[in-house]
């Protein structure tokens, strides 16, 4: 059996006195799409951000591709990883944010090449070539010279996906990628994500798009109050919910 892409055991995270994650277990196998659903404040985004160490979990074991996130285990001790090592880990994990977070002072092309050139050390020519390929893959041919502010939300989010993909990540994290979009723009972003899922990318998606979860996800996790209340294949979670909380949640969002 191959090691899972993401493996979490008893992950806890508090912000001050507020316990956001209270022992989360999850296993994401390679090539699988996992959707995290749940009410706001349930810890979905925090869990996602722990996976690429934007937040440091307080307790539990979290591995990406077999490696501990943020630590090295040696002789029964956990050594915190250096900045350099954490950056190297992050560079292999793509992340797409709710608010796009494109670099506002850079053109679309520079947004997609900056990581390749400055982090991976790719030559500018190769980086540009790759950026153009990715732009065409997300349906944005010819937008190279635009600044993010000149694009619609849906276009910006597709650029953000291209920017993350340019790093050739082994895992993609999506933090409510369509929540900041006008309803008519949601589809174009979901289409790109579906396409990506079909290509075999391992994806973890925090989302409120139940239709997307039903259609694309291999596993759906329902988070509530910092624990995974229910998980399983989309049909059993979304259509035959067992827990009372999930039933209430679904009745609100569906």
């Amino acid at each position: 059996m191959t090691t899972p892409m993401v493996e979490g055991r008893g992950i806890c995270k508090s912000f001050g006195a507020v316990e956001v994650l209270k022992g989360v277990d999850l296993t994401v196998t390679r090539g699988e799409v996992s959707c995290l659903i749940g009410p706001s404040g349930s810890g979905k985004s925090t869990l996602l951000r722990c996976i690429n160490h934007l937040e440091q979990h307080d307790a539990g074991e979290l591995r990406v591709d077999g490696e501990l996130v943020g630590y090295v285990a040696r002789e029964g001790k956990l050594y915190e990883r250096s900045d350099r090592e954490i950056c190297a880990q992050r560079a292999q994990i793509g992340m797409v944010f709710q608010r796009f977070n494109l670099f506002a002072h850079l053109t679309v092309l520079d947004n997609i090449t900056i990581g390749q050139i400055k982090v991976k050390g790719t030559s500018a020519d190769l980086a540009k070539q790759k950026a153009r390929e990715l732009l065409s893959r997300v349906g944005l041919d010819g937008k190279e010279a635009y600044y993010p502010s000149q694009l619609s939300g849906g276009q910006q989010q597709r650029v953000a996906i291209a920017r993350a993909l340019a790093m050739e990540p082994k895992l993609m994290l999506f933090d409510e990628p369509t929540s900041a979009l006008d309803p008519e723009l949601v589809g174009e972003v979901l289409d790109v994500m579906k396409d990506l899922a079909r290509s075999g990318m391992t994806m973890i998606v925090v989302t409120h798009e139940m239709g997307f979860a039903r259609e694309v996800a291999n596993t759906v996790y329902f988070l509530d109050r910092g624990i995974i209340e229910e998980s399983g294949d989309p049909y059993s979670v979304l259509s035959e919910p067992r827990s009372e909380r999930l039933k209430i949640f679904l009745s609100k969002v569906l």
Binding site: Q89, R90, M95, F97, F103, I114, Q150
Partner: protein, 335 residues
């Protein structure tokens, strides 16, 4: 304009009575200003001449603001070398101020409490004491440290000795003092720029695997520049004039040079005007430079960059011309 497809309807523009009145008052004051600037006053001497056997006399008049003397000294060698000193002081002090200021700002937002407290204390001290006092302090530093040694702290190891008098010449004391003081102010400007950049930009850079220093250099600083530049323009222009304090420690900069001249010929006001006009010329050039720098760093911030003044003048010119020609009517949007 047409209404509901009817015939042409005349549009009566709204009258801005207050605006017209204010404009008239402003124009009146402007006329008074120009008049007094170019008015003439009697010198006190009287000149007489005889024409056709009739002797007539009149007062000799001169410019109230002695424009003759002003133009005589405007390109005077001493004034110009003073101007060069002023520019040198401004540039060197700003280089120290900006360089050290950015470092202080980064220290200030560092997670290390010690670094942040150090930066805070620096700003507290240098903002809290008069820059004039600081200049005189650096000029007299040899009273405290006669010799300055570069070596290992607390150890009897020295690489390099220099006497304070040799290092802190009037000019060096002036630009070092002004620069260290400027750093305190600039650190706050830089910090405001750094914290103005959205946290999401940092997260996006981190998620690409950028290190903290790369994030700062490639993502945060370029965007902070948009916020930093306008107050920095202020600081440069302010520094240009604050360098006149250097005359107190014996640097003959622009104001000092004009002071040296009027100490001999008593033409105080004309020479102050000469110095002021020189400051204004440099300030104008700096303002133009600032405008174009802001445009450069503002790219991406708005969908359509505003036109440059030259483009705007050209637009105004074409609009006036199209209004003057009846055949070129501005198209009215049909709604």
């Amino acid at each position: 304009m047409t209404m509901n497809g009817d015939a042409e309807v005349k549009v009566v523009p709204v009258r801005h009575v207050g605006r017209w009145f204010g404009g008239a008052v402003a124009l009146l004051f402007l006329a008074m200003l120009v008049h007094t600037l170019f008015s003439k006053v009697p010198t006190g001497s009287v000149r007489c001449h005889v024409l056709n056997g009739i002797r007539s006399c009149h007062n000799v008049m001169t410019w109230r603001f002695s424009w003759g003397t002003v133009s005589q000294y405007f390109l005077n060698g001493e004034i110009l070398s003073g101007l060069v000193k002023t520019l040198e002081l401004t540039i060197l002090a700003m280089v120290i101020g900006v360089g050290l200021g950015v470092v202080l700002a980064i220290m200030r937002i560092s997670p290390s409490r010690l670094l942040s407290a150090t930066a805070w204390s620096y700003t507290w001290f240098f903002r809290g004491t008069p820059v004039f006092v600081q200049l005189i302090f650096w000029f007299n530093i040899n009273a405290v440290f006669p010799n300055i040694t570069l070596g290992l702290p607390f150890l009897p190891v020295a690489f390099f000795h220099i006497s304070a008098n040799a290092l802190f010449t009037p000019f060096n004391a002036a630009f070092i003092g002004l620069g260290l003081n400027e750093a305190a102010y600039f650190s706050e400007i830089a910090r405001s720029g750094l914290i103005s950049v959205d946290e999401g930009q940092v997260e996006a850079a981190s998620s690409l695997g950028m290190r903290r220093s790369q994030t700062l250099r490639l993502v945060i600083l370029p965007q902070a520049m948009r916020v930093i530049l306008p107050p920095t323009g202020n600081e440069v222009i302010s520094m240009l004039k604050t360098t006149s304090l250097a005359s107190a420690v014996g640097v003959t900069e622009l104001l000092g040079a004009s002071g040296n001249i009027y100490a001999q010929n008593y033409e105080i006001i004309p020479l102050l005007i000469v110095a002021s006009l020189q400051y204004l010329v440099v300030t104008t050039l700096l303002s133009i430079g600032q405008y174009y720098l802001e445009r450069h760093f503002g790219r991406g911030a708005s969908r359509t960059p505003p036109p440059t003044p030259i483009q705007r003048l050209r637009q105004d010119f074409f609009r006036l011309r199209s209004r003057a020609l009846p055949s070129h009517r501005a198209p009215v949007p049909s709604s």
